[in-house]
């Protein structure tokens, strides 16, 4: 990229208004917004932009499918906190982005997608590869733009960056016609600045709400902090920790909140919800105060809402006013950026003795030594939990892990303990299979010095396995762990529990993933016993290039505990006695 750029002019046009083509304006605006990496796939309607790319200090990762581009931009944003950028051509290029855009929308990820479109003269005529992508993406973007004039490109893109990052973040799509890319206009980066950011008018953290929240916290006997993705998005890790430590309040995390509060912290209860541990969900049901921070009471977290935490008052600190009282009625709403709300709230929170409540929860956990599966005897079976556990131990929990969706995702959340924010990259809201591999490519691009692992099932990996070539072309050191049980595991588990073991369409024939890796020039190894796990993980880590591990795990293992959809939080399906992965003496 360095040799392709024009060093003397690459930044001059950011300060001096210059006549440029629309194509050049796209990249010049991105450079001005601090973009260094984009993920994309060229095609007819975006070709003028690609033609101009070599003049700008932006690294382009060629993907194998545009869905991959969107997931990579998403993974890039989740790992770095910066805006991820995906580029695609019109028609099928644009429609292929949609699953990735929706994934980012549901998880509030700042992302800008740029698509080419046919010339403005033929818009709406069903021209070759023309599609109404702004119409299609309207419900899955925070906002989108259709740009048909060269002079509108820079203002639209700068506005898109503002929208993507502000308030509750989200994806923005900018569709730019081919003639707008080909025309010229005076590029004035400063003048293209969007209007000042308009905070949502229904934000509100007035004196009485803050005082009310503080009083609820002071008087609570059994409080719990529910920490969600907002902790990470808002950068409120320190504030949450201060609140928890000062008032001695235990913290339960949502899936996307993992890493927002250190897993090893004595006040960390772990993940709540459908596959959260029994003591966490029981504690929520017994609590007399829930302090919900940057989370939205998703149905995977609450179980049936009519039975959810009935004994508890609720404080909801949330940046999006439309989330207040949406799923769960709350007593005090503090609507604003989590970090600044907590900073306003903390001076009102005195030290507090929470030991009795913490002891009650601790007692319900049972002995930690029993839960540590390292201490369990080798039964000859390889369980996914072993893989997660060993990966966590061997990497010191310091890697960035990107997961797909399903059983392996939940096992990862249960057994890989995340100490730091942005270390778990997973599709929570939309639950997108095929997310892990491309998202990891984005994460590795954003954080080249970090160890990055893909953890995916044998089903999900095949949805986007073509991106293995992208890893090779980009020369990325990414390790891939496939949790291979020969089934679409989570669906099979639902069939086992709720559909009388009618395993319709869930047994899965897969290629030999090690040979598949080999065909891509990626080294690989199959792992069939628990004894091999550590050695295999170490081999993958020490190998200089990408490495694929195919873990052949127990076929019909299930994720426990589990709250059946529509049941109350305390109505969990517990681990069966025969399962060697007993987590607690409580789990009979």
């Amino acid at each position: 990229m360095g040799s392709n750029a024009i060093p003397q002019s690459s930044n001059a046009h950011l300060t001096t208004p210059t006549r440029l083509t629309g194509a050049e304006i796209i990249w010049a605006t991105l450079v001005g917004e601090g973009v260094t990496d984009v993920f994309g796939y060229p095609g007819g309607a975006i070709l003028p932009a690609y033609d101009a790319l070599r003049k700008f200090p932006i690294h382009h990762t060629l993907v194998r499918h545009e869905q991959g581009a969107a997931h990579m931009a998403d993974g890039y944003a989740r790992a770095s906190g910066k805006v991820g950028v995906a580029v695609a051509t019109s028609g099928p290029g644009a429609t292929n982005l949609i699953t990735g855009i929706a994934t980012a929308m549901l998880d509030s990820i700042p992302m800008v997608c740029i698509t080419g479109n046919v010339s403005s003269k033929v818009l709406g005529t069903d021209a070759f590869q023309e599609i109404d992508i702004t119409g299609i993406t309207l419900p899955v973007t925070k906002h989108n733009f259709l740009v048909s004039k060269t002079e509108d490109i820079a203002p639209a893109l700068r506005h898109a960056f503002q929208i993507a990052q502000s308030g509750r973040p989200g994806p923005v799509l900018v569709d730019i016609t081919k003639d707008a890319q080909q025309g010229t206009a005076i590029f004035d980066f400063a003048a293209a600045k969007p209007r000042p950011y308009r905070p949502h008018p229904m934000l509100g953290t007035d004196e009485s709400s803050l005082a009310g929240a503080a009083e609820l916290i002071r008087n609570a006997k059994r409080p719990i902090i529910l920490a969600g993705h907002g902790v990470i998005e808002s950068g409120a890790m320190e504030q949450i920790r201060t609140l928890a430590e000062r008032a001695q309040i235990p913290v339960a995390l949502t899936l996307l909140g993992l890493g927002g509060f250190p897993a090893s912290h004595p006040l960390n209860l772990g993940m709540m919800g459908m596959h959260g541990e029994a003591w966490v969900n029981h504690a929520i049901q017994e609590a007399d105060l829930l302090i919900a921070c940057g989370m939205r009471f998703d149905d995977r977290v609450t179980g049936t809402t009519s039975q959810y935490a009935l004994k508890a008052k609720k404080i909801h600190i949330e940046v999006d006013p439309s989330e207040i009282n949406k799923n769960i009625k709350v007593d005090v709403a503090l609507v604003g950026d989590l970090r600044s709300v907590l900073e306003d709230l903390l001076p009102r929170i005195p030290g507090r003795d929470g030991s009795a409540w913490i002891k009650t929860i601790e007692a319900s956990k049972g002995a930690v030594a029993v839960r540590d599966i390292k201490n369990l005897p080798d039964s000859g079976h390889l369980y996914a939990a072993h893989v997660m556990h060993d990966l966590w131990r061997i990497t010191g929990g310091d890697a960035i892990v990107a997961t797909d969706v399903g059983q392996h995702q939940m096992w990862e959340a249960q057994y890989f303990h995340h100490e730091k924010p942005r270390s778990l990259i997973t599709s929570g809201g939309l639950g997108t299979m095929g997310f892990a591999l491309p998202a990891a490519i984005g994460a590795k691009t954003a954080c080249p010095d970090k160890e990055v692992w893909v953890i995916a099932g044998d089903g999900g990996i095949q949805m986007t396995a073509s991106e293995l070539s992208t890893i090779v072309q980009e020369g990325l050191k990414i390790n891939i762990a496939i949790i291979n049980n020969g089934y679409l595991g989570m669906v099979r588990q639902w069939q086992e529990f709720f559909y009388e073991r009618n395993y319709q369409s869930t047994p899965l024939v897969s290629p030999d993933f090690v040979k598949l890796a080999d065909a891509h020039g990626i080294k690989g190894r199959a792992v069939r016993t628990r004894a091999e796990v550590a050695d295999a993980v170490n081999e993958a880590r020490s190998h200089s290039g990408p490495f694929l591990l195919n873990f052949m795990v127990e076929k019909e293992d299930a994720v426990y505990p589990m709250i059946p959809a529509g049941s109350a939080l305390h109505e969990m399906i517990r681990r069966p006695g025969k399962n060697p992965l007993v987590e607690s003496p409580d789990d009979k």
Binding site: T134, G135, L138, P139, K142, H143, L146, I163, R198, H200, P201, M202, D320, P321, S322, I324, N325, K326
Partner: protein, 194 residues
Amino acid sequence: MLHTFVAYVEDLPGVLTRVASLFRRLNINISSLTVGRSERPGLSRLTLVCDASAEAGHRIRASLFKLENVVDVDDIAQAPSVTRELALIKVAATPENRSQIFELAEVFRARIVDLAPESLMIELTGVESKIEGLIQVLNESEDRILEICRSGKMTMRRGHHTSRVLRAMGAPAEDSANAEPTENFEDRAAVEPE
């Protein structure tokens, strides 16, 4: 319950789709929608009426505000306000039976705005029930309604009200912004013939 939202939106392509799409996603039918220019350059004012649960009002308003092109939203279901609708009604009428329609128009304070040998057009402004009333009377009489065109509801708060939001955004507003009208005017034009 019936919700009435008044919103200021940017006068740009696609904005109406974004607003309508929000209701579509919630599977809420929009029963009436009027849009036109407002006192603020570049902004259109719309009045949107829909039937939704009482709790939905807060969320709909909050969600409308999340749309980038929406500048202000007011939920005025319960507030003192004036609501009007405009209707154009074309009735089959010959020179022989016109006079009874003229009388009817008089009673409803409607105007005849077009006269043709075989038809005439009535313009009527008022609340929904007044317009429904005239239509019912026309249906019950011998007169044949050929066409009806109704504008949908337009609503404005009474008194010197400017929304909290507008004031927070620095729009000009008086101190008496939230004051209720001192005199509770009867909705004069809404007086209906029995």
